[in-house]
């Protein structure tokens, strides 16, 4: 019961914040992808850096749980390409479809239904596709800390790279018509 309440509470807070930044608005998401509005990508990258710093504190305190997904060169890469095409086409990703459907956007309700269909088809093909695409090039649960030896140094490296990305998104994404 506690798990359900924690999940509900976390979801409500998460859904509220992503609506307020405009991530549930597929038009704004398209404008982010078209390099017109910089706020959604800057928000996502900044949230990751801040979360990584927070998680460093949690693990130092021995609180919480982590689980790193393995990298499969073929499956993770191919999946990302399929995912990117769907995200660019609809302007929704799995989390935002729930919040946007709750917000009352009918196109998000159809994205949600399409999502159920896509998940059901994958679940049907799991036993065939995972040994074919995922397992052969699965290189394991790699993290940046494997190279830096210390988690703190890896978080610092992540923060530097993401900050550079945030800076360039601010420079290259534009609202001004005369910049286009």
């Amino acid at each position: 019961m506690t798990k359900i309440l924690l999940g509900l509470f976390s979801g409500i807070a998460f859904g509220f914040v992503i609506q307020r930044i405009g991530a549930t608005n597929a038009g704004k998401m398209a404008r982010a992808h078209l390099m017109i509005e910089p706020d959604i990508p800057r928000f996502m990258l900044a949230a990751v850096v801040l979360s990584a710093a927070g998680l460093l504190g949690l693990t130092a305190a021995g609180v919480g749980k982590t689980m790193v997904l393995p990298t499969s060169i073929v499956a993770t890469g191919l999946a990302a390409i399929i995912f990117g095409i769907g995200w660019g086409l609809a302007g929704y990703c799995p989390g935002t479809t729930w919040a946007a459907a709750g917000e009352g956007r009918m196109d998000a309700v159809f994205a949600l239904l399409g999502g159920f269909a896509g998940a059901a088809v994958f679940a049907q093909l799991h036993e065939f596709l995972i040994p074919l695409l995922y397992d052969p090039t699965n290189v394991g649960q790699l993290t940046l800390a494997d190279w830096t030896k210390s988690r703190g140094a890896a978080v610092a490296a992540l923060a530097v790279v993401f900050s550079v990305c945030i800076y360039f998104i601010g420079k290259l994404w534009h609202r001004q018509p005369d910049n286009g």
Binding site: L8, S10, M44, V68, G88, G114, G118, I130
Partner: protein
């Protein structure tokens, strides 16, 4: 006028990113890595457990993800509630067909809904193949410094940006204003 009220209604990206990071760290502390594409599988598992229990029990993908009654399911339901509350307390009305889409493809709802159904299919098929989505793999993974999350993140942004160029065509003045 419409534009300026829209701009002030949305949160600024820096405070919003602190808010989201606070929620993400809270989730790591009280549950583990947050995820949302798993919530789709969780919901489907609950559906098949009622209509076709033998099928649900026989498929690996439904064995590895917990059904309704799990944190994962509660989280996506919560997201819908959060979106509902946020939408009810927001001055900008929602659109079923985004303006930028309408400028390119007209106001046909059927065409827009067909496109978002197809897009929804692709994002969930891809997410389940990779084992996570924007949240469950890119954000959760990168927060844990996972190479899988960073690799997935670079490619989803790149292909979404290329796809948006193809879908919307060259960016015109009226799109930017």
């Amino acid at each position: 006028m419409q534009q300026s009220s829209e701009h002030s209604a949305y949160w600024k990206w820096i405070p919003a990113s602190f808010a989201l990071a606070g929620i993400i760290v809270f989730i790591f502390a009280t549950f583990g890595p947050p995820a949302s594409s798993s919530g789709f599988v969780s919901t489907l598992k609950g559906f098949f457990q009622v209509v076709a229990p033998g099928y649900a029990a026989s498929k690996t993908h439904y064995q590895i993800i917990p059904g309704p009654g799990s944190w994962l399911f509660a989280f996506v339901v919560g997201m819908a509630i959060g979106g509902f509350v946020a939408g009810r307390t927001f001055p900008v009305p929602t659109r079923d067909v985004p303006r930028i889409w309408e400028q390119r493809f007209g106001s046909s709802r059927r065409r827009r809904y067909a496109a978002t159904f197809a897009g929804g299919f692709l994002i969930l098929f891809g997410a389940r193949l990779a084992g996570g989505c924007t949240l469950g793999l890119f954000i959760s993974g990168s927060t844990q410094l996972a190479i899988s999350g960073l690799y997935f993140g670079v490619l989803i942004f790149a292909f979404a940006m290329i796809t948006a160029r193809v879908v919307y065509g060259p960016v015109r003045k009226e799109t930017i204003e």
